[in-house]
């Protein structure tokens, strides 16, 4: 299928879903038959004709075509080779459908807003500022409440920038080695460990370094950890 037959004006599409929806809803074209390579070639020819590369437009095209490739390949990849990772085509189609429908809601809302904007921009509002006498606080009308010299003497010191405090004596007190040792000690009993229970009362830095230590142990195969949900409990087990 050549893009000429597809008759796609790539400039008018606002994103991969927009393009996909147009392609999918076209009577005579099945998504499986759309040669994305041809679209790329058509685009390159389009760029060559123009003689200069609009970096922003080119970036958007790259993102668009990459997303489209991903979407299409999900529909087309044979399921046999990657059984575990591969979604059933029905599932992939359902997921895509959900995203398309969500996108479509905002595309149509956008069309509505564009109409409102077209109607609204014909109205012009008064842009003159209020005359000074009517302003609630007119600078000309302001009178000093305090004698400026007295005020300066009173608050002058507050305006001075104090010298920087010396922080050279403060060193980070949390080391990865120490946290590794703590973790290994706790895991020696071979009982699963709850992160919050064990480290919830520690300060943020200690918790963070402990997490780094956990990553290190996971990398070395000393421990595994699980978290069922975002911000859920983290359970650590020795291996």
């Amino acid at each position: 299928m050549r893009p000429a037959e597809l008759d796609l004006d790539l400039d008018v599409f606002a994103g991969p879903f927009d393009l996909l929806m147009t392609v999918v809803l076209r009577e005579e074209v099945a998504l499986a038959e759309v040669e994305l390579g041809e679209i790329v070639i058509a685009y390159l020819e389009h760029v060559e004709e123009q003689g200069e590369l609009d970096l922003e437009a080119a970036t958007e095209f790259l993102v668009l075509i990459a997303s489209l490739l991903e979407l299409k390949s999900r529909l087309l990849l044979p399921a046999a080779e990657e059984e575990e990772l591969q979604m059933a085509p029905e599932e992939a189609a359902e997921e895509l459908l959900a995203r398309l429908l969500e996108y479509r809601r905002y595309r149509d809302a956008a069309a509505h807003l564009a109409e409102l904007f077209a109607a609204g921009r014909r109205y012009h509002y008064r842009s003159a500022p209020l005359p000074p006498v009517l302003r609630r606080v007119a600078l000309d009308a302001a009178r000093p409440a305090y004698d400026p010299d007295l005020l300066a003497a009173s608050i002058g010191d507050l305006l001075r920038v104090p010298p920087k405090p010396d922080t050279s004596h403060i060193r980070p007190t949390v080391s990865l080695e120490k946290r590794l040792r703590v973790l290994r000690e706790l895991l020696r009993s071979r009982r699963p460990l709850d992160f919050d229970e064990s480290f919830g009362s520690e300060d943020k830095l200690t918790q963070a370094v402990t997490l780094f230590a956990l990553l290190e142990m996971h990398k070395r195969g000393e421990a595994t950890w699980e978290q069922d949900a975002l911000f859920g409990r983290i359970t650590i087990e020795a291996r």
């Binding site: 809803l25 044979p78 429908l101 809302a109 956008a110 069309a111 921009r121 109205y123 509002y125 500022p129």
Partner: protein, 186 residues
């Protein structure tokens, strides 16, 4: 002087839309009286060159849309460019889901929306509204958005369910996606 005349004077002076409560306070009248005065004022202005509009949570006077060309010639204002589709989609997502983060906008549109967000921000239609709990910048619409789009408030946006496809459309899309999935290469 009649209340609607006083209200007209106040709106003529105010650079920003004025709420009914503020008008009532200034006129030492009840809000019901101000509402009635606004009604009368709107009717009285029907065949005049100035129109009464309720935008961004208040009342304001605007030039008649039919005088747009002449107004732009007099004030040498360039015609405001229309929104591109990317900008309109981004704006719709911000308007309905605000406050909303950049990644969420990109997820719904399926494409990064940085330049649309930047343009909308430069045009004063959206603004940053702090950061989400994950540190992403979040956005919301501005009062200028409501003014330019002739909205009396954010609740004047139509129910988004209105834009959902009919069950028939949805069934057709599903059918076509499934057909595409079945035509896998051997």
């Amino acid at each position: 002087m009649k209340l609607e005349q006083v209200v007209e004077s106040l709106l003529f002076l105010s650079p920003e839309p004025v709420g009914t409560a503020e008008l009532a306070e200034a006129c030492e009248a009840t809000e019901a009286e101000v509402d009635r005065a606004l009604d009368l004022l709107g009717t009285a202005l029907a065949d005049r060159g100035v129109v009464l509009r309720e935008v961004a949570g208040g009342w304001t006077l605007a030039s008649h849309p039919d005088a747009e060309e002449e107004a732009r010639r007099l004030l040498a204002k360039p015609k405001t460019p229309p929104l591109t589709q990317a900008q309109a989609e981004t704006l719709a997502i911000v308007a309905y889901l605000q406050p909303v983060s950049r990644p969420e906008i990109a997820r719904i549109r399926g494409v990064s929306s940085e330049s649309a967000i930047q343009t909308l921000t430069e045009r004063g239609l959206i603004e940053e509204a702090g950061r989400s709990r994950f540190g992403a910048v979040i956005h919301r619409t501005t009062p200028l958005f409501e003014r330019l789009f002739g909205l009396s408030g954010l609740d004047a946006l139509p129910d988004p369910a209105r834009f959902d496809p009919t069950p028939e459309d949805e069934a057709e899309l599903r059918e076509r996606l499934l057909t595409a999935g079945e035509q896998r290469t051997d």
